[in-house]
């Protein structure tokens, strides 16, 4: 492919060159080099750095129009529909109605996974060969992601679940179970049960963005698995650092 592009460029050069002085440098005719993806010493994509989602999914993971203090936004749900079971549609609607007080964030509880991944606050990824930490500015949430080892036997109910990782080529695949039923996907009341099973997929298409995908499975709430996807952007400011947002410190 690159050879063909180069050949085409040379052909164009020859044509242009026929009419112009032969001053054009080959460097100007090469296709832009793909930005190099950083890699760790063991050759894996290196996700280390400070990242942030730029979606409005924390308010609503589906398409939504603007409201006061809520930016409008396009959803991150693949196919846009969430396949709720009938009882769960009613529950979601009730959640939506009561969202200003019923949203777990209203009492400063953790957003949980996956919502913490797209809160409008930065987080830092610390990557080692055996373990990855995600350190979130929002209520100092800490995700522990371990390579190898099985999920501990349940039942355990955590806001963040238990995360176990593996590499599939250059994709970091994280299997998450052991959730509680008290976190939401967004401010709009989209929810799951303690039976949620999440498979997250992190890939690094370029130096400065991660593609994040999560497949959600929860037979108690949904009729079939469904998927969300969004980019995470590197915070490239040279002085950027994780600050803090300690929700319960602000009082009620």
């Amino acid at each position: 492919m690159q050879i063909r592009v180069a050949a085409g460029a040379i052909a164009a050069l020859v044509l242009v060159g026929a009419a112009q002085a032969p001053a054009a440098r080959p460097a100007q005719t090469e296709p832009a080099a793909p930005s190099a993806v950083p890699r760790t010493a063991d050759g894996r994509p290196d996700f280390s750095g400070i990242w942030q989602a730029l979606t409005t999914a924390a308010w609503n993971i589906q398409d939504h129009q603007a409201e006061k203090d809520v930016p409008g936004g396009q959803g991150i749900v693949e196919g846009s529909d969430i396949p709720y079971l009938p009882w769960a549609v009613a529950k979601r609607n009730e959640n939506y109605k009561n969202r200003l007080t019923a949203d777990p964030l209203a009492s400063c509880s953790q957003p949980g996974v996956p919502r913490i991944m797209y809160m409008p606050y930065p987080f830092q990824i610390v990557q080692t060969p055996a373990y990855i930490a995600l350190l979130f500015e929002y209520t100092h949430t800490t995700r522990h992601i371990r390579f190898g080892g099985a999920h501990p036997p349940g039942p355990i109910e955590w806001a963040l679940g238990d995360s176990r990782a593996r590499w599939e080529g250059d994709a970091l695949v994280v299997d998450v179970v052991h959730f509680n039923d008290r976190t939401w996907f967004d401010r709009a009341g989209n929810f799951h049960s303690e039976q949620m099973h999440l498979v997250e997929r992190f890939t690094l298409p370029g130096r400065d963005h991660i593609r994040y995908e999560a497949t959600v499975e929860d037979p108690k709430v949904f009729s079939r698995p469904w998927k969300m996807a969004m980019p995470l952007y590197r915070r490239i400011e040279t002085n950027v650092q994780i600050l803090d947002y300690e929700c319960q410190s602000f009082g009620s």
């Binding site: 930490a133 800490t142 522990h144 410190s249």
Partner: protein, 316 residues
């Protein structure tokens, strides 16, 4: 029969299970008065407090002052393991050794509420925090006036971070990370020489800047919000504190930790605490979600005793 003040003491531990047990046992005390902490520092001139004997760690006695002297010597000859970047490798799980001072970093006797311990303060030599007179009086009133920020699962700040909770240390080029099982908190310490934040950004963990001096990790802490005490009796530093922490390995499995606190608005002179961190060598250790606030918030209205939130040393 549980004395009411033991309920007050246990409440300070911020453990949801304990809080619930207290509610169920009906051991709530009367509303706050000027009652001192049951594990308060004995007055000057008191004989040494009665405490359980200390053990040994890394070939040094655990008792803070003795450990500090011994560890300072050992650090001179120990060659620590190194990361691929050539700096000492502190990675792994660590717990505090010999510091029984979460309830009071000064010397205090063992009671049914507190583990009892010698002072963690190695300078000044009398082991007492060199408060200015007004600040000592303020400290004495804290226990009966304010909630400990740890009851709200808020980050500890410096130096409490070092003795509150067990640590999981990770390193990468230009960073040292310290994850704490207490309330799932963490510290991010850049070691790339960047300057401190501007003075108008205050943080619960403070603004941390690390550097390597030989085999010692030096952490310079400024910009603390300082809206929590540094122990259960209400010892405190202010938002103007400058803390310099030093961590040096004296053995594969032992770190010598010191912190020097400079805060001329509160103290008459700088002062230093010292103690050890001991490595957890169990191979299957994992840090798990604590979900502190998720557990505590529902019990808080029964367990806050009408105490106020601490607004900081110089709150207007």
């Amino acid at each position: 029969m549980v004395r009411w003040d033991s309920g007050r003491a246990l409440r300070r531990s911020a453990l949801p299970a304990v809080l619930l047990a207290l509610i169920l046992s009906g051991s709530n005390g009367p509303a706050a008065g000027q009652t001192p902490a049951p594990f308060a520092t004995p007055p000057p001139g008191s004989p040494p407090a009665k405490i359980r004997p200390y053990g040994e760690v890394g070939g040094c006695p655990e008792e803070p002052a003795l450990f500090h002297r011994c560890a300072t010597e050992k650090a001179k000859t120990f060659n620590p393991p190194r990361t691929p970047d050539g700096v000492p490798d502190f990675q792994g799980f660590w717990g505090r050794a010999g510091i029984r001072n979460m309830e009071n970093i000064e010397e205090h006797p063992e009671t049914m509420d507190g583990s009892g311990g010698r002072s963690a303060i190695v300078d000044p030599p009398d082991g007492r925090i060199p408060y200015q007179r007004w600040a000592a009086a303020k400290r004495d009133a804290h226990f009966s006036t304010y909630l400990d920020a740890a009851q709200l699962c808020l980050p500890h700040g410096s130096p409490r971070f070092a003795y509150g909770g067990t640590k999981f240390v990770l390193q990468s080029r230009g960073y040292v990370f310290m994850l704490n099982d207490y309330a799932d908190t963490y510290r991010i310490v850049p070691t790339d020489g960047r300057p401190h934040l501007g003075a108008s950004i205050k943080l619960w963990e403070g603004d941390l800047r690390g550097r390597w001096e030989g085999n010692t990790l030096v952490i310079d802490v400024t910009n603390q919000l300082a809206m929590g005490p540094i122990d259960h009796v209400g010892n405190f530093v202010s938002e103007f504190a400058h803390v310099v922490e030093r961590l040096t390995m004296i053995d594969r499995n032992v770190i010598h930790y010191t912190a020097t606190i400079e805060d001329p608005r509160v103290f008459t002179r700088p002062w230093t605490i010292a103690f050890g961190w001991r490595r957890n060598t169990s191979p299957d250790t994992e840090m798990w979600e604590q979900g502190c606030w998720e557990g505590v918030q529902f019990a808080l209205k029964h367990t806050d005793y009408g105490l106020k939130r601490y607004p900081g040393a110089f709150a207007k």
